[in-house]
């Protein structure tokens, strides 16, 4: 699977809009993806506190809006994106890293997602998430998840 990195300094909705627009222009998602992911995040937020180690968000939406699976690892240029918690939508958390999950087929992607989230047990990976730019995180994922043959394609934009 091809993966990308991105830096942004907009807010949550702005981020989802810009990621969707670029992914659409590159042929990964349909034109319906943008509105779908924005609405999905409002209805079912995806902010996750991984214990007290790191905060992430994993925005994703229904598979019918996706043409080709990918993932984009995003960091805020000077701060953090605010996301509501998956388990407590009234509570907003600053996400250190956003993983945009572009899921086309649930089963295969879930195997990948399980391996990715298993890395939360790895202190070195948590350090990487917190202190490295998104391109370094992608390179780390390629290295640590060799079985998935990830292909880091560079900055999304």
């Amino acid at each position: 699977m091809e993966i990308f990195s991105a830096f942004s300094n907009t807010d949550q909705e702005g981020l989802l809009r810009e990621l969707s627009a670029v992914l659409e222009s590159k042929g990964y998602v349909k034109d319906t993806y943008q509105e779908s992911i924005i609405q999905r995040e409002k209805m079912h937020p995806t902010g996750l506190m991984v214990e007290d180690l790191v905060n992430i968000a994993i925005p994703h939406t229904d598979v019918e809006h996706v043409l080709k699976p990918t993932m984009v690892v995003v960091k805020h240029r000077n701060g953090a994106f605010k996301f509501q918690r998956m388990d407590a939508p009234a509570i907003e958390i600053p996400a250190d890293v956003v993983f945009l999950l572009v899921v086309k087929e649930s089963d295969g992607y879930v195997t990948f997602l399980a391996a990715l989230t298993n890395l939360f047990q790895d202190a070195e990976f948590i350090d990487l998430l917190k202190s490295s730019p998104p391109d370094k995180i992608c390179e780390g994922l390629v290295e640590k998840l060799k079985q998935f043959d990830l292909n880091y394609k560079g900055k999304l934009y």
Partner: protein, 103 residues
């Protein structure tokens, strides 16, 4: 103990969060040699699904379970199945509740 439990795992789109929670739950139950049918559903579809076929447990990874679910269904907050932290405790608690419901 029931021969086979029926467990629903629910999230917003049933594409990622609940599917991941399902995978981890099945693995943890298998370790304990417990058989269960674990199905993924969207939160919005839960009341309809539950009305058709009533599960023993509903695991939700997103927000709250719908208020309309029958009281005797055990509701479990599934975030540990997403993060990987606290899975054993979650399953311990779930099984304890299932056993106490049957006794």
């Amino acid at each position: 103990m029931a021969d086979k439990y029926l467990i629903y795992v629910a999230c917003g789109s049933a594409a990622a969060s609940a599917a991941l929670a399902r995978r981890r739950l099945i693995d943890e139950l298998a370790k304990r040699k417990i058989t269960a049918d674990v199905e993924v559903h969207r939160i919005l579809e839960l009341p309809g699904q539950v009305a058709q076929r009533k599960p023993d447990v509903v695991v939700v990874t997103a927000g709250q379970a719908p208020a309309a679910l029958p009281e005797d269904i055990i509701i479990v907050q599934g975030i540990p199945l997403m993060t990987g932290f606290g899975i054993e405790g979650l399953v311990d608690e779930m099984l304890k509740n299932l056993e106490s419901r049957e006794s």
